[in-house]
């Protein structure tokens, strides 16, 4: 045990003297989180703001009700709705005024909805290509309205056939704007970016531990360690411990920084700590496999960078991912997905124990990866 502590202390001293830990483990993810948040959303305000416009090209009674319904959403859930003239050009106003999207009520809208045997309602949507997330919110509003109108239309026709008198359904019924960020419910853009970068960069940070086994082999110091009166497993245990400690240190610094600089509210810190520890353990196990296979530290670093970025994209560090379908299945195999979803759950929770499922999922990944990693690293213990 003392050999593990001795080697761990030595490695930590080396790593903390080496500025690359601070640069790669803390400064880079911090800057990236800020930059991405500025590009993608509203830093620190805690809500995604969506600026949409409505063009009513129909001017019918039905379309004016719909237009009023959409306009009624103004100010709700970060939405800003502007009603434009009937002849406004959607593309031109997006270019000129920077709307995130323009909802277009077509000129035959009223007729199609009210005509005997009419068809399902259709609304046009012109999206701002530079604001995909906000445009996605506008699209969900359009879908919500058309669904409700179609439901009302079918209900009215059925009532008419049955000779019943049914009150008309207001067009806005059933529209929900709570879930504006498809990957989660509780985290705002800045907080999510910070968490995403933290869990992505922990994969780089843990390299400073396990990959040094290859550096020690290259420099010849591994020969000295192997010649010392210590158990060989102490060497790999120490490398794993260094990775773990540096990973936890860097991630916790980023989470605290998120709170202090971005006002991120992660929820109970016990839950945050459990998620961080689990994510770091998983990262150590996965990166140790690479260190156990690679022949040189340069090769290991290159492979680890590819894996770190690939898993981050798959797991939702850059953009939110759905938990459905094949992509959802792949996402669930990454610690990033569970870490971010754990934080989402934690934000709205009253108790830290809501992270139980994500923590368990990450523990399973850590064990599945950790066993072969330990075997592979032991094979590296040769002069």
């Amino acid at each position: 045990m003392s050999a593990v502590v001795t080697i761990t202390a030595k490695d930590l001293k080396e790593r903390l003297r080496d500025k690359s830990f601070f640069l790669l483990g803390i400064l880079t993810p911090l800057v990236l989180a800020f930059v991405l948040d500025l590009v993608m959303g509203d830093l620190g305000e805690g809500q995604l703001e969506v600026d949409i416009a409505v063009v009513d090209a129909d001017g019918s009674v039905v379309s004016s009700q719909l237009r009023a319904g959409i306009a009624g959403l103004d100010g709700e859930g970060g939405l800003e709705v502007t009603v434009l003239d009937a002849d406004a050009d959607p593309d031109a106003v997006i270019d000129a005024d920077g709307y995130d999207a323009v909802i277009v009520i077509p000129d035959d809208f009223g007729d199609r909805v009210t005509a005997d045997g009419g068809s399902a309602p259709e609304l046009g949507l012109v999206e701002n290509p530079d604001r995909p997330v906000q445009a996605g919110v506008a699209e969900s509003i359009v879908v919500g309205f058309t669904t409700n109108i179609e439901r009302a239309r079918l209900l009215a026709r059925a009532a008419d056939e049955l000779g019943l008198d049914v009150a008309p359904v207001p067009p806005a019924t059933g529209i929900e704007l709570d879930r504006v960020w498809p990957g989660g419910e509780g985290l705002d853009t800045g907080a999510r970016m910070m968490a995403g970068m933290a869990v992505m960069f922990v994969f780089f940070t843990v390299q400073f531990g396990v990959t040094t086994l290859l550096d020690e082999k290259k420099s010849g110091t591994l020969t000295r360690l192997l010649a010392a009166p210590i158990r060989r497993d102490s060497i790999t245990a120490a490398k794993g411990a260094v990775s773990f400690l540096l990973g936890v240190l860097a991630t916790m610094i980023l989470m605290v920084t998120g709170t202090l600089l971005m006002g991120a509210d992660w929820g109970p810190w016990l839950g945050v700590s459990a998620l961080v520890v689990s994510a770091v353990l998983t990262a150590v196990a996965l990166m140790a496999i690479v260190a156990g296979i690679a022949k040189t530290s340069e090769g290991a670093s290159a492979a680890q960078a590819i894996i770190a970025v690939g898993l981050a994209m798959l797991g939702g560090s850059w953009f939110p991912v759905s938990g459905e379908g094949l992509m959802g299945l792949l996402a669930k195999m990454t610690p990033h997905y569970w870490f971010l979803n754990g934080l989402e759950d934690l934000t709205d929770a009253t108790t830290w124990t809501v992270v139980g499922r994500p923590v368990l999922a990450m523990a399973v990944i850590a064990v599945v990866a950790g066993v072969p990693a330990a075997v592979l690293l032991r094979r590296r213990l040769r002069p």
Binding site: S2, A3, T6, I7, K10, K13, E14, R17, D18, S219, G220, T221, T223, R224, L225, L226, A227, A228, P229, I230, R231, R232, R382, P383
Partner: protein
Amino acid sequence: MTVIPGTRLAEASGLHKTFGDIHAVNDVSLHIDAGETYGLLGPNGAGKTTTISILAGLLEADEGTVMVAGERIRPRSTRGRAAIGLVPQDLAIYPDLTAEENLKFFAALYGMSRRDSAPRIAEVLDVIGLTDRRKDRTSKYSGGMKRRLNIGIGLLHSPRLLILDEPTVGVDPQSRNAILESVETLSGEGMAVLYTTHYMEEAERLCDRIGIIDSGRVIAEGTRAELTASIGEQERIRIEVTGQVADAASRLRGLDGVTDVAAEDDAVVVLADDGSARLSAIIERLAGAGAQIGSIDLARPDLEAVFLHLTGKALRE
């Protein structure tokens, strides 16, 4: 440390080690007594480093045993390791740590308490001449200083057997002399030393006994006097030539009195009975082969001549 000179300290018996098709160590047996410096002399690739890796417990032998200070040495066991100090051929130091931090780290790894290690570290720093630079990171050291620290780490825990694997490779003459003096001092203090080198003059200066190793086998062993006596009164003649060295060397084979011939990069090395008397015939034969002759060096029997006699190869081939 109480050392009784002459006590058998390390013994390797019947060591074998293969890597694929290569038989790197082939039935090597040797022993070293306390206070004795044993030299393992051989060219690059002869099996020296593999042999000492087995002796230091870094590698598992396919066959054979190693005993040091009464303990069986094996890679998976820590028994007996504290009795061994290893100075690897490569510089095995941490560049981001100071000399003092490097020494403290290895002292802790060898189980030395802080109380015991502090005076010992100061002592070692003094021996290797780095007391004034002990607080500097070793990345700022010269090559010679790094080499000295490399040796200092091996000495730190006062091992009973010190294994030095070609410690003077790439070292300037001044540092090299300092290293050789340190080894002489340690041996004089009763430490058993296993010293591998391909420099004949180092082996002749330091070693009480020498094992000559080639192609994984110890082909001769004894004191310098015993080894040189084994080849009689043969003299070694080294002739610098330009032109087809290998062709020139082949012309000398079979010449009366010439027992061995080897070609180096720019020289032909000849082993001959009564070499002085054969010199004119040798020069005549080389000139006939069209070789341009530079300097000629004629030496009494030495370890290089022994190696040439035993293997038909020059030591630095």
